[in-house]
């Protein structure tokens, strides 16, 4: 955007004081070649020990625990979970919403920040997109088995068949099928398309023949021609716009699963937005948890800088504040509407029995702890941010539990009340999906370009043809 870089003499006094200078996208001001070396060296180098230490337990969860939990649940039926009347939606749906949520921040960072021309997003965009892809995969797992007879899952798709069966399109649960599948496909397309130029980087650097062959296939024959970039950039903008819409749509549809019902605590017009923001908030927590160790272990402190982490923390704060607003709107509407059931449900969120403490965890973490992010010192302290990121994830998991179970366990008829407790199979499934997520993520950082190499280079002054470091002669261009 910057058209000129030399400040005319008369405007010199207007230069910002040191404390208000912009932080550079990439620190240390290295040449493009050195930057390429740095950004691709992890995918090419030896596997470090910390990777194995994380990978082995994750792979155990993914390849042993998860299949066992799935096979047992599918063969024995959903009865192995704690779900029972009146709480028919338990930890499976809670985890589903949580995973969809984790996915959202990735899309938002990557797509929305691109549309708003935030150059710093280039450094963390890819990491965030991968988080999206893998967590949507995990999310999709839950509804598929929650139906009970997983072998009838194809009923949910409009496949012409001899029984004349069609999906029932008036049900929000059907929309979920389309929403989650679309989200999976589109986020994978977006992720893959963004990776093509970087796969070409790795291809061109490959030293062994098999590596060269595989990467050549993956890079689709990318040459870096200006004409290619031209269409590529257009497609990228379009995909970013679509992904931004998706962020709002997918979680809204998940929210519609709840709010189109008449159940107290679920039926609120703000629910679609609530789920969107909750998703994004939770995802920012996950981004913090993933990026803070990785930037250290992958030695990317000059690329994923403190200033970028500061911005992610601010985004988490913003979404946390909106969440706090929505919580207060829920309580306000319960009061304002004078609906006895609403008042009952929201009173019991904090002062009821069985689950009251979850309500306080929810408020304490999502509203309380988040306020720490107002302070610059906390945002600059990576350990604190990591802990806050973990707490946000815990808080948002609790929130979904409170929404799902908190409204179901006491409905309109006291005779219908009951209590829900997850069983070990609920927990095993969740642990298995966590393991699968981290396994996929570790494989991704090791074998694929974890940082958008081309985009980062394009965002440096060395890549700007109007900047002296990019070779510009100076003066107003």
């Amino acid at each position: 955007m910057a058209e000129s870089t030399v400040i005319p003499e008369d405007l010199k006094p207007l230069a910002p004081p040191a404390e208000l200078r912009r932080a550079p996208v990439v620190e240390n001001n290295r040449r493009l070649g050195a930057l390429t070396d740095q950004l691709s060296q992890f995918a090419e180098g030896k596997i470090p020990r910390w990777w194995w230490i994380l990978f082995i337990p994750a792979a155990f969860c993914a390849t042993v625990l998860l299949p066992v939990a799935l096979v047992y649940q599918v063969s024995a039926g959903v009865g192995v979970w704690g779900n029972n009347h009146p709480v028919m939606w338990g930890l499976d749906i809670v985890s589903f919403i949580w995973w969809v949520g984790v996915a959202h921040a990735g899309t938002l960072i990557s797509a929305l920040l691109f549309l708003t021309r935030q150059h710093w997003r280039t450094t963390i965009g890819r990491a965030a997109e991968a988080m999206t892809v893998f967590s949507v995969m995990m999310a999709g797992l839950y509804p598929a088995i929650h139906v009970g007879r997983a072998w009838f899952d194809w009923f949910m798709f409009p496949i012409p068949n001899s029984n004349g069966l069609w999906p029932q399109f008036r049900s929000p649960l059907m929309w979920d099928v389309f929403a989650v599948n679309t989200y999976l496909v589109v986020s994978m397309l977006f992720w893959f398309m963004g990776m093509i130029p970087d796969l070409a980087v790795l291809r061109d650097r490959a030293t062994t023949r098999p590596r060269k062959f595989i990467l050549s296939l993956a890079a689709m024959g990318w040459t870096g021609s200006a004409r290619h970039w031209h269409h590529y950039e257009k497609a990228y903008v379009v995909l970013c716009g679509l992904c931004t819409l998706l962020v709002f749509t997918v979680s809204s549809i998940v929210g519609l699963d709840f709010c189109t019902s008449q159940l107290a605590g679920w039926h609120a017009t703000i629910f679609p937005l609530y789920f969107v923001i909750g998703a994004v908030f939770c995802g920012f927590g996950m981004i913090l948890v993933i990026l803070i160790p990785l930037r250290k272990w992958l030695r990317l402190e000059n690329v994923i800088t403190l200033s970028h982490m500061d911005k992610v923390a601010k985004l988490a704060l913003v979404s946390g504040l909106i969440i706090a607003y929505i919580y207060s709107m829920e309580f306000f509407i319960a009061w304002y509407s004078n609906d006895p059931y609403e008042r009952w449900v929201f009173g019991h969120r904090l002062f009821g029995h069985t689950y009251w403490f979850l309500g306080w965890i929810l408020i304490g973490v999502n509203v309380g702890v988040t306020q720490l992010l107002w302070f610059k010192k906390i945002r600059a302290n990576m350990k604190a941010l990591f802990v806050i990121g973990l707490l946000i994830n815990l808080g948002m998991f609790t929130e979904r539990f409170v929404i799902v179970v908190g409204s179901l366990y006491q409905d309109f008829l006291p005779a219908n009340w009951g209590v829900y407790l997850p069983t070990r199979w609920d927990v095993a499934l969740y642990a298995g999906s966590l393991g699968a997520f981290f396994m996929l993520y570790l494989l991704f950082i090791k074998f694929l370009p974890f940082i958008a190499i081309s985009e980062v280079k394009g965002a440096t002054p060395q890549g700007n043809p109007h900047h002296p470091l990019g070779g510009a002669k100076g003066g107003r261009s």
Partner: protein
């Protein structure tokens, strides 16, 4: 971007002196017509006055939001439009508060619940806000917050014009920080208490967000038009480059979608759950002539601007965008009317007495634009010494002057 030959593209400076009497004319004509309306039908006048008040309130609140977001996001590009946004936001107090006095006086005409006995169940449940005193006190609170916010933000901004101090930027950020929280609370409260409660039985959790999206939407449309005028008058020509219009246009486009999203969410959730305590609100609006207004809003407030602004390049095309922005004013007014006017006893769109809201609109518009122009003229047109001013002009700092790196160097060959 076309900054190279932008200068030559600019048509000759715009001369607006012919229009200088417009605010006074609007004020007098609108004021007289509004008075006649007040005589003819006090109730309709009350609702019309409220409607026009809400229209300008949404504009001023939207401008306040833009100012705060500028500080909170440490934005660079929006320095040029900030000053007149501050003036727009400063209309909140005392000028809009002044215009609120008739609403307060006519409250029993406008708000049916004020005439209900205090034994009414819903009124009792909403005690103490839903009393005459509660209404006045809470309304006063809203204006107090807005006054504090808009005046502090403008005070430090004007002070920076003199001192150029970084402290001013920090103060403005501080005020925006607590301000955005207070803003969300007061805006929601105002939308519920002043607008939603004309049909007091209705409740909707997204109502505040919905009103807010309209505020930001209409403020962006207004900012676009004012920016075009200032550029054509050569007042901000050096500062307002093409990317300004692109950014405002994109935000305007985004809020077109966001406000449609909110309206759709509210409608859809109510439609699908089909609960009588909510659906009555939409049943009124789905029948008789209100149905036409619903359709006008669906197509005029969303589909038309959406498809017109969909191509990227349109956002910088003033010939397309200025009419869209003017259309947005009409649509925002129609949208507020959709919320307020069905509270009238006759259950159809008051086409015959439509002149009353427009008279109020003209009067307030004239009055507020007169105030705005006076304030704009008595202060520098843009923040003179803002630390982001150079960036807004498209001049970036040479890399050597950037602060030293804090991160260690790893890997690679330098």
């Amino acid at each position: 971007m076309g900054s190279h030959n932008e200068k030559s593209h600019l048509p000759p400076p715009l001369d607006l002196s012919r229009w200088s009497r417009l605010p006074a004319v609007l004020m007098i004509a609108g004021g007289v017509a509004a008075l006649v309306g007040a005589g003819v039908s006090p109730k309709e006048f009350g609702l019309s006055w409220l409607l026009s008040f809400l229209f300008y309130l949404s504009l001023a609140l939207g401008a306040l939001f833009l100012v705060m977001v500028h500080h909170l996001t440490d934005a660079g590009w929006s320095v040029g439009i900030r000053r007149f946004c501050e003036h727009l936001a400063s209309l909140l107090f005392p000028w809009l508060a002044l215009l609120f006095v008739p609403v307060l006086l006519l409250a029993p005409q406008i708000y049916h619940w004020l005439t209900l006995p205090p034994t009414d169940e819903l009124i009792r449940a909403r005690w103490p806000v839903f009393t005459r005193a509660g209404f006045a006190v809470v309304s006063g609170l809203f204006f107090a917050v807005w006054w504090l916010l808009s005046s502090r933000l403008r005070y430090w901004s004007l002070r920076q014009d003199v001192t150029g101090d970084a402290l001013c930027t920090h103060r403005m950020r501080f005020h925006s920080g607590w301000g955005i929280v207070a803003y969300a609370a007061t805006l929601t409260g105002a939308s519920v208490l002043w607008m939603q409660s004309v049909q007091y039985q209705f409740f909707s959790a997204i109502y505040g967000v919905y009103f807010f999206s309209g505020c930001a939407w209409i403020a962006l449309a207004t900012v676009y038009v004012i920016a075009v005028l200032l550029q054509r008058q050569r007042i901000l020509a050096g500062l307002l480059k093409e990317n300004y219009f692109y950014f405002i246009g994109v935000l305007f486009f985004a809020f077109t979608i966001f406000s449609a999203y909110n309206e759709f969410a509210q409608y859809f959730v109510v439609w699908n759950a089909n609960m009588p305590e909510e659906t009555f609100w939409y049943l009124i609006r789905e029948n008789r002539s209100w149905w036409c207004l619903s359709l006008i809003l669906i197509f005029g407030k969303f589909f038309l601007p959406f498809f017109v602004m969909l191509p990227v390049k349109v956002k910088t095309s003033l010939k397309v965008m200025v009419p869209v922005c003017l259309w947005a004013w009409l649509m925002q007014f129609a949208d507020l009317a959709y919320n307020v006017l069905p509270a009238m006893p006759q259950y159809h769109f008051p086409l015959a007495s439509l002149w009353i809201p427009f008279a109020c609109l003209a009067f307030m518009g004239g009055f507020l634009s007169w105030v705005f122009l006076r304030q704009f003229r008595s202060h520098p047109p843009y923040p003179q010494k803002d630390p982001r001013l150079l960036e807004a002009m498209g001049i970036s700092l040479p890399e050597e002057e950037n602060p030293p790196a804090t991160a260690p160097i790893h890997g690679g060959r330098s």
